[in-house]
């Protein structure tokens, strides 16, 4: 393959009615609202940004300790701390607008405690062009009254998807909880209820203990496990769900580099997110993007979409 052809890899991917300029996105809660990494890399290079969870009212979040390291991973119990929808508009939305105008797809991550709250959030966000799609956070394991029950209760989940689907032309993406017996079945349920795409996976409920003090390390005792430790499980879940649904999947869970990202694409994800990796190497998303392009060149793939679901079994 010639050098001229090398620059011609089509990295764009289709995600329902959206086209992302490339499949590399950053996971909700690991990238703030897009400004925090401004001094580290140019976020306009990304295919998409998933914003930190939003709720109608500001939420203070959980008391510290909120994070700790575990074998090849980390626990977090941030507790959905966020500024609430009003301050999102006054403080964060202008920057989202700036990134969006550079061709980055912006996903608002919604963390309602009731169906009504999800509906209200969408109502508000419909007024801005800085947001292109909604990701329903039905799987955050951190807040007792939060998403947990939506992600685990089939009736509630179906009701939520149907209710939110009616309110907007924009894609509705459901972020699935890994804390279910059959994640593919949950994906099918969401697809039938009208979801346009699925994100998987969110973190696993887990805990750490300090043997010296005989106390839990996190204030909330349990938190969500992310990072390389969960990658093989995430990969299996993406694969199984991709086999069962025909809507696109955004794959995540322990993606640290381009090879990890390619594995998720081969398993059936149409796009990927890096989360914990952004803390380890803030340049990870850009390195993933470059590595993906290099892989395509090396393997004579001229459209990255050709990799999606390309696993040979």
């Amino acid at each position: 393959m010639t050098a001229a052809a090398a620059t011609c890899v089509d990295l764009s991917v289709k995600l329902g009615s959206l086209r992302l300029k490339n499949p590399v996105t950053v996971a909700s809660g690991t990238f703030g609202y897009g400004t925090e990494y401004a001094h580290v890399f140019d976020s306009t290079l990304l295919g998409g940004v998933f914003l930190k969870a939003l709720t109608m009212n500001p939420r203070p979040g959980n008391p510290p300790n909120r994070i700790c390291e575990t074998s090849s991973g980390m626990l977090n119990s941030i507790g959905l701390q966020n500024v609430g929808i009003d301050r999102f508009f006054s403080e964060k939305e202008p920057n989202c607008q700036r990134i969006a105008s550079a061709g980055v797809t912006i996903f608002a991550n919604l963390a309602g405690q009731t169906i009504e709250e999800f509906e209200q959030l969408i109502d508000h966000l419909e007024t801005t062009t800085a947001v292109h799609a909604y990701e329903l956070n039905v799987s955050c394991p951190n807040v007792n009254k939060g998403g947990c029950q939506f992600g685990q209760d089939q009736t509630l989940l179906r009701e939520l998807v149907i209710a939110t689907r009616k309110l907007t032309q924009r894609p509705i993406i459901v972020k699935l909880s890994p804390q279910v017996t059959d994640i593919a079945a949950m994906g099918v349920l969401c697809e039938r209820a009208g979801a346009d795409a699925l994100s998987l996976i969110n973190t696993f409920p887990a805990m750490a203990i300090d043997a010296q003090s005989r106390r839990p390390v996190l204030n909330t005792i349990a938190g969500g496990l992310s990072g390389p430790a969960i990658k093989p499980i995430a990969l299996r879940m993406v694969y199984q769900t991709a086999q069962a649904v025909s809507i696109p999947i955004i794959g995540m869970g322990g993606i640290m580099n381009a090879t990890d990202a390619i594995e998720f694409l081969l398993a059936g994800a149409s796009a990927i997110s890096s989360g914990t990796a952004n803390f380890v190497n803030p340049n990870a998303p850009v390195e993933i993007l470059r590595g993906l392009e290099a892989y395509c060149i090396e393997h004579c793939v001229d459209r990255v979409e050709q990799l999606i679901g390309g696993l040979q079994v």
Binding site: F31, H39, V40, G61, P64, N76
Partner: protein, 267 residues
């Protein structure tokens, strides 16, 4: 239509270690060559350092800067071996590459009017205060600094000769019999005099005591705080402490230097 502005300058640097010193059995200092950090870091600020290319440990580790030399582009960090990451760091050698984010966080600010400062350091909490004492001395502002340096063992008290050059008085305090003053720094609060400003860094138990004492004595006090960190950049909200007036604030962004009287340090 607004256009995308690329990152103005970067906080993410690679450089190398140029010197490794062991100051005590568990205390090490690494001199690093990263001119961008050496040129712009202020006392109180920290670097967030990648320990390995692999995933053990996975997350970066934060370290305060001990001193910086903008002329040769180097600065030092000083650390105590407490776990897996700091243990690995004892194996670093001159010439090894380093990957750091920095300088991060807020710095100590000493207003012009403050001429008598009291510094209360506990253990490796000496690091940012060492840098501050040095900077104030070099600024020739005629500020008098009393530097109290407490640690459990006399062995964990070091670099006193440097501090003595820069400070009015340097008072080491250990719980063993290593120095004239035996006990904890906060046991000697009646000897602290009447400073315009108190600056402190150390374990939470000590900071809680300093908070109580300075509140009773009505001294303004700033402290450099610690917490577990994820991103170091303000995005993950993992590193927060609770304040009395503004809810949770991030140690990596609003801190690590805080008005100590604003913090809820727990019982």
């Amino acid at each position: 239509m607004p256009t995308a502005t690329p990152a103005q300058h970067t906080l993410h640097h690679t450089g190398s270690i140029v010197e490794v010193q062991q100051l005590a059995p568990l205390i090490w200092a690494h001199r690093c060559h990263i001119p961008e950090i050496a040129a712009s870091v202020h006392p109180g600020q920290f670097v967030h350092m990648r320990i390995t290319e692999g995933s053990a440990p996975l997350l970066r580790r934060p370290f305060s800067v001990l001193d910086a030399n903008p002329r040769d582009g180097t600065f030092r960090i000083l650390f105590k071996v407490v776990g897996v990451g700091t243990q690995i760091m004892t194996g670093f050698r001159a010439g090894d590459p380093v990957d750091m984010l920095g300088p991060l966080g807020s710095a100590f600010n000493v207003p012009r009017a403050n001429k008598r400062l009291l510094m209360i350091a506990g253990g490796i909490g000496m690091v940012p205060l060492y840098f501050l004492a040095k900077k104030l001395f070099e600024s020739r502002r005629g500020i008098e600094v009393d530097y109290w340096f407490g640690a459990r063992d006399a062995e964990e008290i070091y670099l006193l000769d440097d501090l003595r050059q820069w400070c009015n008085t340097v008072v080491p305090v250990s719980e063993d019999a290593g120095f004239e003053k035996r006990g904890r720094v906060t046991d000697f609060a009646n000897e602290w005099g009447s400073p315009n400003l108190v600056l402190t860094c150390g374990p939470t138990a000590m900071l809680r005591e300093v908070q109580r004492i300075t509140r009773d004595m009505n001294f303004p006090v700033y402290g450099a705080l610690e917490s577990f960190m994820g991103c170091g950049l303000g995005a993950c909200l993992g590193c927060v402490l609770n304040t009395t007036d503004a809810g949770y604030e991030r140690v990596c962004t609003e801190g690590p230097v805080f008005d100590l009287h604003r913090l809820e340090l727990g019982p």
